[in-house]
Symmetry: C2
Subunit: 202 residues, 2 copies
DNA sequence: ACGTGGCTGTACCTCCCGGTACAACACGGA
DNA sequence: TCCGTGTTGTACCGGGAGGTACAGCCACGT
C-alpha cells in the first residue's frame, strides 16, 4: 500500500497527480485506471500495488487535496487575515479556472457532484474537505468579530458556508457557460454581501 | 426518431422519464442504456428506435427540462411576480432535495458538472436552460426596477445569475453534507443580499 | 553470495457498455 | 386481404472497464 523506497514514492506520487488531474478534467466515473496509468507513465502493476482499487485511489487523491488546504501547499491560500485576502481567495479560484479556458469547475465540486448513495466513504472525505475549508474562512470572521469589525449577530460559519457555496455554484455555471464574466460577477455580489456585515464601530 | 402512435408516444415518454430520474440520481456517465431500459420497462429495440444513441437521449431529456421551465409544467415555478415568489422559488428547490433525503443535487447541475470538452452539444443545452431560467428571474427584477422598487444601478441579469449560482452551490454542498440546514442558511443569505437592492422610494 | 523484500511489467480474465441486426408483430388504408 | 409502416423483442458483437496472477527485477542486509 505505502511506498518504502524513494523511487516507489515517486511513482506513487505520479499516479496521484495524474489521477487528480484527470478527475478534475473529466470526473471520476469517466476516468479509467488505464487512462491514469498511461498519463502517469506507469504500469498496471504499480497501480494496484500502491492502491487497493479505484475507489481507494479517489480516497487518497482527496486526502492529498485536504493536506494541501491544511498546510497551504496548494495553489490556493486559505489563510485569510484580511478582507483583501478573502477577495484574493475568490479571485484565485476564477484565475485557476481561466487557466483551463473555463473548461473545468472546482476539483471538489466535480467529484462531489458524482457522489451517490454507494460512495459513502468518498462523500465523507469531501465533507471533511469542505468542513476544513469552512473552518479556515470562518476563523477569519471570528477574529474580525472579536475585533469589533463585524456585526455581532452574524454567524461566522454560516458566512463561510455562503462563500464556499457561491464559489461552487459560480464555477459550475462558469464551466457550463464557458465564460469567466459570470463567475466574476457572482463573486462580486458575494463579496459585496459579506462585506456588508463589516462595520466600523469607531 | 419521433413517435407516430399514442402507444409509441407512451414508451418514448417512459424512457425519457426513467432516464431523467437516473441521470438526476447517479449522473449521466454512470447510467447505462440497459439500466434505463430496465427502469422504464421497455426493450433495447425501443430505446434505439426512439433515440439515436445515449447522447441523443441526454439531449432530449434536457429539452424536456427546458420545456418544463418555459411553460411552468415542472415542479418549480419560475414565474416570479413578488419577493415572496422568489423566496418560495428558493425554498422549493430545498424542498425537492429534501424529498430525496438530501442524496441528490440539482438535476441540471449534476449533468453540467459531468460535461467535458467533447460534449459541446450537451453543454449548449444546459447553457440554454440556465439562460432561460435567468431570463425568468431577471424579468422580475426588471419589473421591480421599473416600478422604482429596486435601486437603479443594479444589473438585473447579474442578480439573476447570482440567484442561480448560489442555489447550485448550495444544493451541491447540501448533497455532500447530506444536510438541508446548510442549504437553508445559504439560501437565507442569498435572499438577504438580493433584498438589500430593494428600496422603497416612497 | 544469496535470499528477501519491495518494485515493475505483462498476460490474462470476466463482465458490462454502447450499439447493431434482424425477425416478428400490430394495425390502418387501399 | 394483403401490404407497408410503425413498433417491439432478442440475439449478437467488439471493445474497454476494473481487476488478478504471476514472473522478473533490483537493492539491501547479512
Amino acid at each position: 500500500m505505502t511506498a518504502h523506497t524513494t523511487q516507489g514514492d515517486e511513482t506513487r506520487r505520479r499516479i496521484l497527480v495524474a489521477a487528480a488531474d484527470l478527475f478534475h478534467k473529466q470526473g471520476v466515473v469517466a476516468t479509467s485506471p488505464d487512462q491514469i496509468i498511461e498519463a502517469s507513465g506507469t504500469g498496471k502493476g504499480q497501480f494496484y500495488h500502491y492502491f487497493r482499487n479505484k475507489e481507494g485511489l479517489v480516497h487518497e487523491v482527496l486526502l492529498a487535496h485536504l493536506d494541501a488546504i491544511r498546510d497551504g501547499s496548494g495553489s490556493l491560500n486559505y489563510e485569510i487575515t484580511s478582507w483583501k485576502d478573502l477577495e484574493q481567495w475568490f479571485e484565485a479560484q476564477v484565475g485557476l479556472q481561466k487557466r483551463y479556458r473555463m473548461t473545468r469547475g472546482c476539483p471538489f465540486g466535480t467529484i462531489g457532484n458524482e457522489v451517490t448513495e454507494n460512495d459513502e466513504l468518498i462523500r465523507q472525505d469531501l465533507n471533511l474537505i469542505f468542513e476544513v475549508a469552512k473552518a479556515k474562512l470562518a476563523s477569519f470572521f471570528v477574529r474580525e468579530k472579536a475585533a469589533g469589525r463585524l456585526v455581532a449577530n452574524v454567524r461566522e460559519d454560516q458566512l463561510a458556508d455562503f462563500c464556499l457555496a457561491t464559489i461552487q455554484g459560480a464555477m459550475l455555471m462558469g464551466k457550463v457557460k464557458r465564460s469567466s464574466q459570470l463567475v466574476e460577477s457572482v463573486v462580486h455580489e458575494a463579496m459585496s454581501h459579506v462585506r456588508r456585515y463589516a462595520q466600523t464601530t469607531t
